[in-house]
Symmetry: C2
Subunit: 267 residues, 2 copies
């Protein structure tokens, strides 16, 4: 199904306008083009009983899991980054994991909501990709999927698993390192530049977690692969650790916050 909104329309929307459309069920696709200049976020929702362990996991793995906000149990409103938003309805598409298995991919998780659920809002690399685009950096994300690597995250309690990364092809590798380094809140600098095999990616054209039917456009002779830690990591962890219950965003279908990307610059 084609979106009824053009890239230009999506890009010009305010976060509030965009989330209202998502909330009404009128947009269930990728947020790559949504709300130019605003920080986007991954979502992880788990029972309070596991919340300390997961927050510890995030702290020990700040590249894949830079935490922007954490809600009180049962509260669907992320008070720091978008107090008027509702995390049950404002993400275009969700995933629901039970006992380490993916069980549903709804566009609304109101029916799954419980009073003991704590939501973690985690910075997304779409945010700094906007900045690179604005600078005309010769850089293109593989928006079609995410890779599981052979790098293990630092475990915390029941949470353990492999690091997931997003893939990108760059003609200029320096500027992306500089720009992303300014934003630890959006995964910071790359975790790897060069041969994908070194981090356990056997076929760069076959992402482990595909988000679009379109294949990755092949690498050109003057391009270098670059990889950033990815907020899909908690989903790999949910599978690897057989976590009893977790709701997440669907890869590339992010939560759009009210905060400007620049507010998160570390320098």
């Amino acid at each position: 199904m084609e979106s009824k909104f053009s890239s230009e329309e999506l890009s010009a929307m305010s976060p509030k306008e965009f989330r209202a459309i998502v909330r009404r069920g009128e947009y269930t696709r990728t947020t790559a083009d949504a709300c130019c200049g605003y920080a986007q976020a991954d979502l992880v929702v788990i029972p309070e009983e596991m919340a300390f362990e997961f927050l510890l996991f995030c702290l020990r793995n700040p590249r894949p899991c830079p935490v922007l906000d954490v809600t009180e149990a049962g509260d669907p409103h992320p008070r720091l980054v978008a107090p008027e938003a509702d995390l049950r309805t404002d993400v275009p598409k969700y995933r629901v994991y039970k006992d380490g298995k993916l069980v549903d991919e709804p566009s609304d998780v109101t029916s799954y909501w419980r009073d003991d659920l704590v939501s973690f809002v985690i910075g997304c690399s779409f945010s700094f990709v906007w900045l690179l685009r604005a600078e005309n950096v010769k850089f293109r994300p593989h928006e079609t999927g995410v890779y599981a690597t052979n790098i293990n995250c630092v475990p915390a309690g029941r949470f353990h698993g492999r690091l997931a990364v997003s893939g990108h092809f760059a003609q200029d590798t320096v500027r992306p390192v500089q720009v992303s380094s300014r934003y630890p809140a959006f995964h910071g600098p790359p975790v790897h530049i060069g041969d994908p095999a070194i981090i356990g990616i056997k076929d760069i054209y076959k992402p482990n977690y595909s988000t679009s039917p379109e294949p990755v456009e092949p690498q050109k002779p003057d391009e270098v692969p670059m990889f950033w830690a990815c907020g899909v990591t908690p989903q790999v962890v949910a599978l690897d650790s057989k976590i009893p219950f977790m709701i997440t965003h669907y890869p590339a279908h992010m939560f759009v916050t009210d905060r400007r990307i620049e507010e998160f610059a570390c320098l």
Copy 2:
């Protein structure tokens, strides 16, 4: 009591050597001069039952509480920053708070230790002060005390209270902003530059939490006051929130980690 170690001797020690001396009870003074180039840290130890709330407090207040490491309950070894260290003995002086009151200032907390205690290791501004010293920046910390401000931290659960800051006089205010901005792990950039009254400090020569009997050397005509968020904040919070039990470092008497300061640079 004079220290039996000179500033030069303290500065040249490795963290392992320094902690061994502290562990044997041979050094109970400020760590301002200890282990040049190594990251120093504030300590907060609380029962596991409050650990999620406090970690959330840290996350919501990253300037005063940049978390470098969190231990498992009962484990006195900070696995990420100094796995061989023992947090019960390796800090020169501690404070023990009960029900919002300071009850003890021992140099060893082994007798207070419990199986349910979780330790938070929080980056300390002494770390970037080393860097400014090395650059000959005209900058001097008030090493004699810490101030409580009129700025409220963002609360989390039972944790609420005022922001504590360290005070400094600088002839060059620009370089300290630049250097500290590179280190969110050591409180990041200043929270205030200029008139202390604006952040509720009535008398800059009377710190709320004095750590030395020596008075602050008066401000010179070409100096400007600069203030950084301080890791003593959790102690103000312990008092303001009447936290049932908390062990901390004694102000300016820090835990020295095995990690180099530069490892924490964000850019």
